[in-house]
């Protein structure tokens, strides 16, 4: 399958020493294990994808209903249902070998040890390019506080994961914090090679007739175009605070959306929810980026990263 794609060299980016053919990446939880998209797009044409969150053991997830559409977005409480790190290594990775696209293994756990266990299993897998740590998980050993909401807990986990991992480490920030720049600094200080942001925002929707939450779990993660301005602002703030490459995520549905994140400071971007209602959106954004470079006479995509012009004090 390689060799058939003519990549636009102007779109190539590097994150933590990994080469991406372009900066367009499928977001975790919206791209399955990649293979689900093989019938819909040419996987060689996208920069990469992040797997559904993988845990040390397979997980059943939460009872339905798990999703509800809101204005400009959706809430989800999937409960991180996944096949487990071992099954990913043994059953999915061999099938992904033939694609020239970067594979990011998204990892989560309910304690530091849980994360380390999953990473240790994944270290055996051939073909994984990097890990993305989903830190928006409750730590069951510490009364269920969300690891990613506490800079100290997130830094401690990052440090341990950094030591356990044989691959570059991307840490995915939770937006459910007061000061995302402070969180980012703590995590980069602990050794993260890159940051991706943002994960979903905690939200809720109520059925006024049953007076119950529309999700069985109660609350859910808000994603989709509705969260984009918040995500762009957070990428901008984090870009001003740290020096590692950033991957912008949140409501991207078109090339214009992707460019906002890049100009705000992202080296690459991930597309999530839009894959559901526009399954070929990733490839459309790749094409759109080349057109934008042509139209604006920009030498390459890297020249746009962080190119925001600040007139305000």
């Amino acid at each position: 399958m390689t060799g058939t794609v003519n990549h636009d060299p102007r779109l190539a980016v590097e994150i933590a020493g990994i080469h991406f053919n372009n900066p367009v990446i499928g977001a975790s939880g919206t791209f399955g294990y990649g293979l689900e998209f093989a019938e819909l797009i040419d996987l060689n044409r996208i920069g990469g994808f992040s797997t559904k969150g993988l845990s040390s053991r397979p997980l059943a997830g939460t009872p339905p209903p798990r999703i509800v559409e809101t204005h400009g977005g959706m809430l989800n409480a999937i409960g991180l249902q996944n096949i487990g790190a071992r099954a990913f290594v043994e059953e999915k990775l061999p099938l992904l070998e033939r694609y020239d696209t970067r594979i990011i293994a998204n990892v989560f756990g309910y304690s530091d040890e849980d994360y380390i266990e999953a990473i240790t299993i994944l270290n055996d897998g051939a073909g994984i390019d990097a890990y993305e740590l989903n830190i928006s998980c409750p730590n069951v050993k510490e009364g269920g506080i969300v690891i990613g909401n506490s800079p100290a807990a997130a830094a401690r986990l990052t440090e341990r994961a950094r030591r356990a991992s044989t691959r570059p480490l991307i840490v995915k920030l939770s937006p459910n914090v007061t000061d995302i720049a402070q969180l980012a600094r703590a995590i980069v200080g602990a050794g993260a090679d890159s940051l991706s942001l943002i994960n979903t925002l905690v939200g809720m929707s109520i059925d006024i007739y049953t007076r119950r939450s529309r999700l069985n779990y109660g609350t859910g993660g808000l994603s989709g175009p509705a969260i984009r301005p918040i995500a762009v602002r957070m990428v901008h703030e984090v870009a001003c605070a740290v020096d590692v490459p950033l991957i912008g995520i949140g409501g991207i549905a078109s090339v214009m959306d992707a460019l906002e994140f890049i100009i705000a400071g992202a080296t690459a971007i991930q597309i999530g929810t839009a894959n559901y209602y526009d399954p070929r959106v990733t490839v459309k954004v790749v094409d759109g980026l080349s057109e934008y470079l042509d139209r604006t006479d920009s030498p390459n995509i890297g020249s746009l990263t962080g190119s925001i012009i600040k007139d305000q004090p």
Binding site: G32, P65, R66, E69, I78, I83, T210, Y276
Partner: protein, 285 residues
């Protein structure tokens, strides 16, 4: 599976609130009975997610029709699209109704099918009924709707045209028998079984309709030892297996294990009714 923009051939009101949408595709679509599509009026800002609609009919090699009820904003947006307008489509999706009978009823005379349609669930079973008729399988249809008007909206005329034995019920008694469709179904099975020659196990029940109806059909089927297949419904994010949002709870041996949930879109939509945990409703209402 094709992902494309289809053009509207027609979008006709059958009765108020119920429409038949016929779409032209630029390539051939091979859709089997019980499969579905994810559809969205093109370039509409809201809602974002496509909506699942069963393939009602393969109208031509490159033409499919969908029978739908206007329920909320997604189906309402679809209702506004006129002839020549565009609809984003991902199709065909999901598994299909198996028409082959199980081994245990391989005796020619006992190949019997019972189709139970509740409300707009009818849209998923019209092609099945056609296939059963073509396979010369003895088929009984039970067709339930809220009222005579709703029954028309749910394609009653198309079912009548099949010429198969058809029993109609309406909740308000405005057409056919008053009450739920499960009442004549139960009577039918009891009568069948009382004829010495037949066992419930000789019949396969195919059901699609509201969750409580299908749960009840499952109970009845179990009582008469009939094989029962259901096409389930759950709000869907993607329709092709990646969001894992549209799950139903299935029976597993152990406590809540990994295999406790199945995706309606790719593991179904058609399931053996006895594998479903009916007490865990996949719908929010």
């Amino acid at each position: 599976m094709i992902e494309t923009v289809a053009t509207v051939e027609s979008n006709l009101e059958i009765t108020p609130g119920y429409r038949l949408l016929t779409l032209n595709f630029d390539e051939e679509v091979e859709a089997r009975a019980g499969q579905f599509a994810m559809l969205r009026a093109r370039a509409s800002f809201e809602p974002l997610l496509r909506r699942a609609l069963a393939v009602y009919r393969v109208a031509g090699k490159r033409q499919l029709s969908f029978l739908y009820q206007i329920l909320g904003r997604g189906t309402e947006q679809l209702s506004f699209v006129e002839r020549g307008g565009e609809v984003e489509a991902l199709v065909p999706l999901g598994n299909s109704w198996p028409v082959e009978m199980p081994e245990r009823s391989s005796v020619e005379a006992s190949r019997r099918a019972i189709v139970v349609a509740g409300g707009i669930g009818s849209a998923s079973v019209l092609m099945l009924c056609e296939e059963l008729a073509r396979a010369r399988i003895d088929t009984q249809i039970f067709f339930g709707a809220a009222s005579g008007r709703v029954a028309s909206g749910c394609g009653l005329e198309d079912f009548r045209a099949l010429g198969l034995p058809l029993t109609i019920t309406t909740d308000d008694g405005s057409l056919g028998e008053r009450g739920f469709v499960t009442a004549p179904l139960e009577r039918h099975l009891r009568d069948e079984v009382s004829k010495k020659s037949l066992r419930g196990a000789d019949s396969t029940i195919y059901a699609c309709g509201p969750w409580p109806m299908m749960a009840r059909v499952n109970e009845i089927a179990a009582r008469f030892d009939a094989r029962c297949l259901v096409s389930l419904e759950a709000p869907m994010g993607c329709g092709f297996g990646v969001c894992v949002g549209c799950v139903v709870a299935v029976k597993t041996d152990g406590p809540l294990g990994y295999a406790s949930y199945r995706r309606v879109c790719t593991d179904g939509t058609i399931f053996s009714a006895d594998t479903i945990r009916w007490e865990v409703n996949a719908m929010s209402h």
